[in-house]
């Protein structure tokens, strides 16, 4: 083949440009740490990166949401723990004053204690996280339990996404758990009955509350 000077120079120029192009590309990869810079570098890979990034962002958001829900459940659990402890004391009082060895004054004093146990229980069940009541369903700003023990909120349950597309209950239906809706024990009403029985020096009435107190099982625990 006849080789001219210009062919040699053109070859050197073209090959040099190609080498510089590869160098620039390698420098870009090295400096950014990203092998896939433009979708044209690897179209299928670019689509995968987009989906992976979306998946990672979603997983992170789900994890954060689940973490927050878990924190709230921990608070709810602690509140229900308080309720359980208070109820245990109420049960002791009920057992103690179901016997015949106490007079009206002693039972009246016990009634006062039960009232304070009720107050503590209402306070525990009106626990707030931030600006919302944990056991109020979706009525965030409504105190779920009145001082009388009546349930004043709703029975809605909040949901949390625990895995992409998988939603799970993130709150407790307090009306079912402690207010007796759906066939359970209305704890506060039971305590009110106990308090009233003690105040009335009603030994049999006091003993009658024991069954309900004994069967109470807070759902979250």
């Amino acid at each position: 083949m006849r080789v001219t000077d210009r062919m040699l120079y053109d070859r050197a120029t073209n090959d040099g440009n190609a080498a510089r192009s590869r160098l620039e590309r390698a420098a870009g990869v090295a400096s950014t740490g990203a092998k896939l810079i433009h979708p044209g570098d690897d179209p299928a890979g670019a689509a995968q990166v987009t989906l992976f990034k979306a998946g990672a962002a979603r997983a992170q958001a789900v994890a954060e949401a689940a973490g927050r829900a878990s924190d709230e459940l921990a608070v709810a659990d602690a509140a229900l723990g308080d309720v359980t402890n208070l109820l245990a004391r109420a049960r002791e009082v009920a057992i103690q004053f179901s016997s015949s060895g106490y007079d009206a004054a002693a039972r009246a004093t016990a009634a006062t204690e039960v009232q304070s146990l009720m107050d503590g229980m209402v306070a525990a069940l009106n626990t707030k996280v931030g600006n919302r009541y944990l056991f109020a369903g979706t009525a965030d700003t409504t105190a779920p339990f009145l001082a009388t023990g009546a349930f004043a909120a709703n029975g809605a349950v909040r949901k949390v996404e625990v895995a992409p597309g998988v939603w799970q209950d993130a709150s407790l239906r307090a009306d079912q758990a402690v207010a007796g809706v759906g066939g359970g024990v209305d704890v506060l009403a039971t305590l009110a009955t106990l308090r009233n029985a003690l105040a009335a020096n009603d030994q049999a009435g006091t003993a009658a509350t024991l069954g309900a107190i004994a069967t109470f099982r807070p759902a979250a625990r």
């Binding site: 001219t4 979708p39 949390v160």
Partner: protein
């Protein structure tokens, strides 16, 4: 009869022939780096008729019988097509590769904004009454709208940039076409005078090559020695001594982008679609990959906004309000076209984040359901639902990215292949027609030595004359 005077005059003619050979080699050397130049050769031949002396034929020296070019018509016939193909694919590749708006690792992309939007909804779903989280949803919605607008704007801006290049290139095409027509006439005139106008042929070839790069024209030689040029669609750009005029005009059916027009000599401009070369590559990119990307973004923005708004309108705001859109895609009468350029958070919701419809229930005996995030759960369900072309938003975005990548990658592969074919053919043409400095130096030496020898002949003849004149 061969006498001393004849030898002297023959020497002068031969000197002239060698001088022509010297000048041709010099011309070659001076054009060693001139693009499109084909090396020339001075053709020397023995002058005829030979003298007769004592019954024998005696030669009468050398004459210049012509100056030819080294051209390989087989190679040159293929070159315009390859020049056009390479220019087309490399231009398309260059335009598509310049789009970074859908780069998968780029920060602030639509993909990131979409992730942020879902995350904001997810956070609000856990505490729907929180004013800060509502504001965050509004901000994320606005950010998503801006990301769509920015991305579409970047791609649309590239399409507008292509228009600017089209307009500039048509001027060059028209100038070159007129030049070829003019050179056709000059070459005709040159040949009519009996000489081959080599340098005019080079100039015409160079103009034809550039036109092939710009438009993909195919040259067709005529019996008059002209070169007529035909565009890939079959329309004539140059016909003998007449050149058509390429122009541009806005196309209302293509968002006002430019369409090419062609006007024959003295004719009116007609819209024209058959184009190759750089112009064809620009149009391929603008109305192919880039247009599809813009349409895909519009479709996704339209589909996502529609699906979100449908659910949002059915949901309730913090105060129980209903029938509010979360997104706006412009006036009610506007359609899917341009939706990505208009996508934003609805003005009412932007002004009052309490209108974000998180709930599905209303206030009742159980208090105001400010903590009801059930509509947000419904909205988050859209993350897994088809909102655009039967795909989820993330999948639609991934497909857009992939489609642009495929277009750019295909153009790049075609460009590499076409460029390799073009370079190979250009190398072969250079091998056939290019100037070798070594060869030309040898030609120079040959001409110089011959010139010296002929000069010696003249000197010898002159000395013989002197001898003759001194005879007494």
């Amino acid at each position: 009869m061969s006498d001393l005077l004849a030898i002297l005059s023959q020497g002068a003619v031969s000197l002239s022939a060698q001088r022509a050979a010297l000048a041709t080699a010099s011309h070659n050397l001076q054009n060693a780096n001139t693009p499109g130049y084909a090396r020339q050769r001075a053709l020397l031949s023995a002058s005829l008729p030979a003298d007769t002396s004592s019954g024998f034929m005696i030669g009468t020296g050398a004459v210049l019988s012509g100056v030819t070019q080294s051209r390989d018509r087989f190679l040159e016939a293929q070159l315009p097509t390859l020049l056009g193909n390479a220019a087309r694919s490399s231009t398309q590749s260059s335009v598509l590769s310049s789009i970074s708006a859908l780069d998968p690792e780029a920060a602030g992309s639509v993909s990131d904004a979409l992730d942020g939007f879902w995350s904001a909804l997810r956070a609000l779903s856990q505490n729907p009454a929180d004013g800060g989280l509502r504001t965050q949803v509004v901000a994320a919605t606005h950010t998503l709208g801006m990301a769509f607008q920015r991305t579409r704007g970047a791609v649309e801006s590239a399409r507008t940039g292509v228009d600017a290049r089209l307009a500039a290139s048509t001027s060059e095409v028209n100038s070159l076409a007129a030049q070829v027509a003019q050179l056709n006439g000059q070459i005709r005139a040159g040949r009519a005078s009996g000489a081959e106008p080599n340098d005019l042929l080079d100039a015409r070839q160079k103009a034809v090559d550039r036109l092939a790069e710009l438009t993909g024209v195919s040259p067709v030689g005529t019996s008059e020695g002209d070169v007529s040029l035909f565009l890939p669609g079959g329309a004539g750009l140059v016909n003998g001594l007449m050149a058509s005029t390429l122009g541009t005009q806005g196309d209302a059916t293509n968002d006002g982008h430019l369409v090419l027009t062609l006007a024959g000599p003295g004719g009116t401009a007609q819209a024209f679609t058959g184009m190759g070369g750089e112009l064809g590559g620009l149009l391929d990119a603008r109305d192919g990959g880039l247009k599809a990307t813009v349409a895909g973004l519009d479709q996704l923005a339209w589909g996502l906004a529609g699906a979100v708004n449908n659910l949002h309108r059915a949901g309730r705001g913090l105060n129980g309000t209903i029938n509010y859109d979360l997104f706006t895609t412009g006036p009610v009468t506007s359609g899917v076209s341009g939706a990505a350029a208009r996508l934003d958070v609805a003005a009412a919701v932007a002004a009052d984040p309490s209108l974000v419809a998180a709930a599905t229930t209303t206030a009742g005996a159980g208090g105001s359901p400010t903590g009801d995030g059930s509509n947000l759960v419904n909205l988050l369900g859209l993350e897994n639902s088809a909102v655009s072309g039967g795909r989820t938003a993330a999948n639609a975005l991934a497909k857009l990215t992939s489609d642009l990548g495929v277009a750019a990658s295909s153009a790049d592969l075609a460009s590499q292949q076409d460029t390799a074919l073009r370079d190979n053919l250009q190398t072969m043409r250079e091998s056939a027609s290019g100037v070798s400095i070594d060869e030309e130096m040898i030609e120079l030496q040959k001409a110089q030595r011959a010139y010296e020898a002929i000069a010696k002949v003249i000197a010898t003849s002159s000395a013989l004359f002197d001898t003759l004149l001194q005879l007494k």
